[in-house]
């Protein structure tokens, strides 16, 4: 019962935060948490359900964000164009890099996804029209059908709607025939092939869906910061997304939301007290892996 209600409880808390007397900083952090939660859930489909250890999930986020920047530079600021372009580009990227990465397993898969994300990082840094390494400031936030739905406080509620929408979508996908096949591929790939299911096609589809949703997070993130830079694709970002998913428990969608909350709160919260928070975060991460053998959330599967 609690498991069924928990996600809705989480959404209710997010919905309430702007109306509580908690100050603008808390709302700002909560907004970032929701955006990263969307990205973390999309990685959970790949890593948690599909068992594919992608260390390059920051790449589709960055591609989504750069779609906003490029269209902004071209004077296009309507979500009707921006979102399909962002998702389309990220999905195409996932099809190409995924086809290569899926030729390898385990360690090699981790290294290859990491390398492709690094490729996006360097490619973004060499785009001199969009600020190169320095990044690009948006002239204006993206609008929806000409309405300022992502401007000011509206972005918060747009993110909340996106969060709930993505959660519902992914929940449906996980429960579908595709979701069952994906989970089965994680458990026993050869067995699944013996059943006449194309395991690689299932995995590639998961990578593509995950990339599309990550691009949505990238569009929101670019609008939140009103700024885009190669750092969106930095490998450390891919790493923290993995931490979020594992922290929340592999395969648990609302767990990924909680994982995102913990990591973002740690960054923003500790960041207020010391600029050296990565030291503490890194040490805690090592200790967690060493001493919580069943995973950070205790619900990890093998």
């Amino acid at each position: 019962m609690i498991r069924r209600l928990l996600p809705w409880l989480i959404f209710a808390v997010f919905a309430a935060i702007p109306f509580l007397p908690v100050g603008g900083f808390v709302t700002l952090v909560a907004g970032r948490i929701m955006i990263f939660a969307i990205a973390a859930m999309s990685l959970d489909l790949i890593l948690g359900v599909g068992g594919l250890p992608s260390f390059g999930h920051a790449a589709p986020i960055a591609i989504g964000a750069y779609a906003v920047a490029m269209l902004d530079a071209a004077g296009l600021n309507h979500l009707e164009y921006v979102l399909p372009a962002a998702m389309g580009a990220a999905c195409l990227f996932a099809v190409i890099t995924g086809s290569v990465a899926l030729r390898a397993r385990g360690i090699n898969f981790i290294m290859i996804t990491l390398a492709f994300a690094q490729m996006v990082f360097f490619a973004a840094g060499s785009l001199s029209d969009y600020g190169g390494d320095d990044g690009y400031s948006l002239t204006v936030r993206t609008d929806i059908a000409g309405q300022n739905l992502l401007k000011g406080g509206n972005l918060y509620f747009a993110s909340l709607i996106a969060l709930i929408g993505v959660w519902l979508l992914l929940r449906m996908i996980v429960a579908s025939r595709f979701g069952r096949a994906l989970s089965a591929v994680r458990q026993n790939r050869v067995r699944v092939q013996a059943m006449g299911i194309n395991a690689t096609a299932i995995e590639l589809t998961a990578l593509v869906i995950g990339a599309g949703i990550a691009a949505l997070a990238g569009v929101l993130l670019a609008n939140e910061a009103e700024f885009v830079s190669p750092a969106y694709a930095a490998w450390g970002r891919s790493g923290s997304l993995m931490v979020m998913v594992i922290l929340g428990g592999l395969g648990s969608l609302h767990g990924a939301i909680l994982g995102a909350a913990v990591v973002v709160l740690f960054e923003e919260g500790m960041g207020r007290y010391t600029q050296h928070w990565p030291l503490i975060f890194g040490v805690l991460l090592v200790l967690a892996v060493l001493f919580l053998r069943n995973g950070l959330a205790g619900v990890r599967r093998g």
Binding site: A115, F116, Q118, M119, V283
Partner: protein
């Protein structure tokens, strides 16, 4: 043409540095089946220790020797403290824990040495340049880096192919269970491989220090390049790491100049300045993709 020659030499020199990092990494992967993201940290630690110890001893050479040894010892401490508890754990556990190590050590470096880039002066004996071909001078130091890389490669080749330890390493890379079945203390073999790998990465860090800016996180990008090297060369293969490191070094360095020139010829100056660098930065990843498409286990990897 002369510029091309310089770029090719720079490419080989980058390849040698990559090889020094990738050699340890690929053996650790191969023999221990251990994903050590923190291997790039060894390179950074080597560079920083090199700067400090060179200042302390007043000599680049003192810094080079002491820092390499210290980096190796530091690697062994990390192995004893953290990594040995991760053998046999899932890839994901290893990735997360070593990711944590990178975050912590990059930040610790920032606390100890500060965020500003440091510099290490090259030794006087190697600081000049010589006439490569008429009209073109090339720095002696870069040649020395290449020579050092080649020497290490030759040494490793002898050790791995001709000695008992090397045989165990090769056997361990193929079948770890068999080696421990032979009654070999696999833990000691691991520590040896790990320590030497850490030392080589540290050595590479000191060698690179006069050529690059020494700063926190300097090992991260090189680590990912080393991953590309290992993927292309094949996990566990020293020869693969060497060949792939040279390929990656050459493609990256030559690609940047050739593609910019090529784009210049094909497009207007403005367009080529825009797309040239972006394409050039993707080249090595394209090479990786092509190699994987043809040989999923890498050039010298064992096909599955």
């Amino acid at each position: 043409m002369t510029l091309l020659l310089v770029q090719a030499l720079n490419g080989i020199q980058l390849g040698m540095l990559l090889f020094l990092i990738a050699a340890g990494l690929t053996l650790v992967f191969g023999v221990m089946n251990f994903v050590n993201l923190a291997h790039g940290v060894q390179y950074m630690i080597g560079a920083y220790l090199g700067v400090s110890l060179a200042a302390l001893t007043g000599s680049f050479w003192g810094g080079l020797v002491l820092a390499s040894v210290a980096a190796g010892l530091f690697g062994l401490v990390l192995e004893w403290l953290i990594f040995r508890h991760l053998y046999g754990r899932s890839d994901l556990d290893q990735v997360l824990a070593t990711f944590g190590v990178i975050l912590a050590l990059n930040e610790a470096t920032r606390i100890i040495w500060g965020s500003n880039p440091l510099e290490l002066a090259m030794p006087d004996a190697l600081s000049g340049s010589f006439l490569l071909v008429p009209g073109l001078r090339y720095p002696v130091y870069r040649i020395a880096v290449m020579a050092a890389g080649l020497l290490v490669a030759a040494g490793l080749a002898v050790v791995v192919n001709r000695t008992r330890v090397g045989m165990l390493i090769r056997a361990g890379a193929t079948n770890g269970a068999m080696v421990s079945a032979l009654g070999v203390d696999i833990g000691r073999l691991f520590r040896l491989v790990f320590g030497v790998g850490a030392m080589l990465a540290g050595f590479a860090g000191v060698l690179a220090a006069p050529l690059v800016s020494v700063e926190p996180g300097m090992g991260d990008n090189l680590l990912i390049l080393a991953f590309v090297v290992i993927v292309i060369g094949g996990v566990g293969s020293i020869r693969g790491a060497f060949v792939a490191a040279v390929i990656v070094g050459l493609v990256d360095t030559l690609g940047r100049s050739l593609i910019t020139d090529g784009a210049h010829a094909a497009f207007s100056a403005g367009t080529s300045a825009r797309i040239g660098p972006a394409v050039a930065s993707m080249l090595i990843y394209l090479v990786m993709a092509v190699v994987l498409a043809i040989r999923p286990a890498g050039l010298f990897g064992k096909p599955v």
